[in-house]
């Protein structure tokens, strides 16, 4: 009974798989091409008609490395790690509290968090720039870490709350009856169950910080220069260093690719601010 409809369904599944693969190849082709440009000699790059076969070169890598690119990479990495760690530390208790407890003005406080997440960065960068200039926070790790709190802390609290709401409250109630303290309950019951949610949300925070451009560009400088900011720097007075840009672009892409494969559908949940469970 189940065999008869199964075969046409399976065959149609293969056709749709083919459609999706074809779509993915077309859509991702620009990324493949940029990857190829990392090793493409300049004369092949600017050729008309397009040259599809060329002898690979490493000159773009040399140029980028000589420009202090590893320093940009390290800066990005440190900045994103520190700001994400802070977000976890500050945000986890808040997300838990919003999911579990009744509070006065809870709805308004929560809306304030959402509004912070949605505020356009271009509006924030004006006051940040002026305040940071007065406090000497321009071009410092502390300044950028603080600026990244606007979008990442609000995002983290908002999304992790949706993970918290999935936890069965009975376990905590049982632990409370056992006489465990609040801190014990959080550490021994809530935290282990919430670990996956925390990791998924934190990795997304890391990616947002990793990809961030405007704050890093306007509030950073020579000392704190992240990877995305080093891209426009390759538009020089002697022309645009396209091959070098491709190298930096792909370098910025690799950690994101890894994270996306690891997180899979948690990403949907994060990007839709918890509206889809994924």
């Amino acid at each position: 009974m189940s065999d008869e409809p199964k075969n046409p369904v399976a065959a149609r599944g293969l056709i749709w798989t083919g459609v999706v693969i074809a779509y993915a190849v077309v859509m991702l082709f620009p990324i493949f091409w940029m990857a190829a440009m990392m090793v493409m000699p300049n004369d092949a790059m600017f050729a008309r008609p397009t040259v599809w076969l060329f002898v690979p070169t490493l000159e773009h890598f040399d140029y980028v490395l000589n420009l202090g690119f590893s320093w940009n990479l390290l800066t990005s990495f440190v900045l994103c790690t520190v700001s994400t760690a802070l977000v976890i530390l500050i945000g986890t208790p808040a997300a838990y509290a919003f999911a579990r407890f009744e509070m006065k003005l809870k709805d308004d406080l929560f809306l304030f968090i959402l509004a912070t997440r949605m505020a356009p960065p271009v509006c924030l960068v004006i006051p940040f720039y002026l305040i940071f200039a007065k406090l000497g926070l321009l071009d410092t790790f502390a300044g950028l870490t603080l600026a990244y709190m606007t979008f990442n802390l609000s995002f983290y609290v908002w999304v992790l709350r949706s993970f918290c709401r999935d936890l069965p409250v009975e376990l905590e109630e049982a632990a409370e009856l056992e006489g465990w303290s609040r801190i014990q309950i959080f550490r021994r019951v809530v935290f282990p169950l919430l670990r996956n949610g925390i990791v998924a949300t934190a990795v997304l925070c890391f990616i947002f910080a990793w990809n961030e451009f405007l704050f890093a560009f306007m509030l950073g400088g020579e000392t704190v220069q992240t990877l995305p900011v080093s891209i426009p720097k390759l538009i020089t007075s002697q022309g645009v260093r396209w091959g070098e840009m491709a190298v930096v672009g792909i370098a910025a892409l690799v950690p994101v690719l890894v994270a996306v494969f690891l997180l899979q559908r948690h990403i949907v949940r994060g990007l839709t601010l918890g509206a889809v469970k994924g």
Partner: protein
């Protein structure tokens, strides 16, 4: 010294939180977050409001000028041009992303194999840094040697040897195209996740009744998916208005002011013209608009989707 909490686990009254503790405990948990968010968003907002009613040029804040900055801004054709540009951008890009996303999600929801590999790959345009997305399309659409410029646009005589981003008529549409490339995967995978979460019961009933797939889509799938479609569409709508990075690297608002959105204009006013007062007025207006959008999003998401 003995630890009271662990020494007397059987004594319920000693370990159980008192009524007073119950009341302040949640506030204690949210305090660090609320304090941080006040510092990084409420104070900057209030400072922007303060700047917007003062004469502030080149970083020096001088006299109180009342609504002058707002009046200057609202009578400036360049401001209205930027609003118009953003409206065209969002009004074309978001519906196309929405439709393509929905179709893509329905296809992905068929018996597609290897989703665990395909889904992360499809997600790449959305997840990569917007500045890299811009770079990618700067390369593909570069004048003369850009892969798509040369092999498609020039070959079919759609445009001459210059880059499409140099054309004041077409640059905005090129940016819309890039936005569609970047954000369609997001719509597609969000809708797909929604489809996967739908209950099977109604579909079984429809199969028993002999409904065809078109009927099933319009009578079952679409109504059940509707709240999610609204929420995701609204979220994307809000985000699309904020577009900055890709526009900044691809056209910088040019040629002239052909692709200048309020985001780009605010940034130019601040960091090129150093007209802080007027830029702040613009920022406050944008901020209020976003807060209104955000409120609508929250109410709809909460009531119709019961998501939050």
């Amino acid at each position: 010294m003995t630890n009271v909490g662990e020494a007397v686990p059987l004594s319920v009254s000693a370990a159980q939180p008192s009524a007073r503790e119950r009341i302040w405990y949640p506030y204690l948990l949210i305090a660090p977050s609320m304090l941080t968010l006040t510092v990084v968003s409420l104070i900057p907002f209030l400072y922007t409001v303060y700047l917007s009613v003062h004469a502030a040029k080149f970083g020096r804040v001088t006299d109180f000028v009342g609504a002058d900055n707002y009046i200057t801004l609202l009578t400036d054709a360049r401001f209205w041009n930027s609003v118009g540009t953003a409206v065209i951008f969002v009004a074309i890009a978001v519906p196309i992303e929405f439709m393509l996303g929905l179709v893509g999600a329905l296809i992905l929801n068929q018996n597609v194999r290897g989703r665990s590999i395909l889904i992360p790959l499809l997600f790449m345009p959305t997840m990569m840094a917007p500045i890299v997305v811009g770079l990618l399309w700067k390369i593909m659409l570069a004048g003369s040697w850009g892969l798509i410029s040369y092999n498609v646009l020039e070959r079919f005589h759609l445009i001459g040897q210059t880059s499409i981003f140099a054309s004041s008529d077409l640059a905005l549409y090129a940016l819309i195209f890039v936005d569609i490339w970047q954000w369609t995967p997001f719509m597609m995978l969000a809708f797909f996740a929604g489809l996967q979460a739908l209950p099977l019961g109604p579909y079984r009933a429809a199969a028993v009744d002999g409904a065809n797939s078109v009927q099933v889509f319009f009578n079952i799938t679409l109504p059940m998916l509707m709240p999610l479609l609204v929420v995701i569409g609204l979220l994307r709508f809000i985000d699309a208005f904020k577009v900055f990075d890709t526009v900044y690297i691809l056209t910088g608002g040019g040629p002239g002011i052909a692709t200048e959105t309020p985001s780009i204009l605010a940034n130019k006013m601040t960091f090129e013209f150093w007209n802080i007062g007027e830029a702040s007025a613009l920022a406050v207006l944008v901020w209020i608009a976003f807060f209104a959008f955000c409120n609508v999003f929250y109410q709809i998401a909460k009531k119709r989707l019961n998501a939050f």
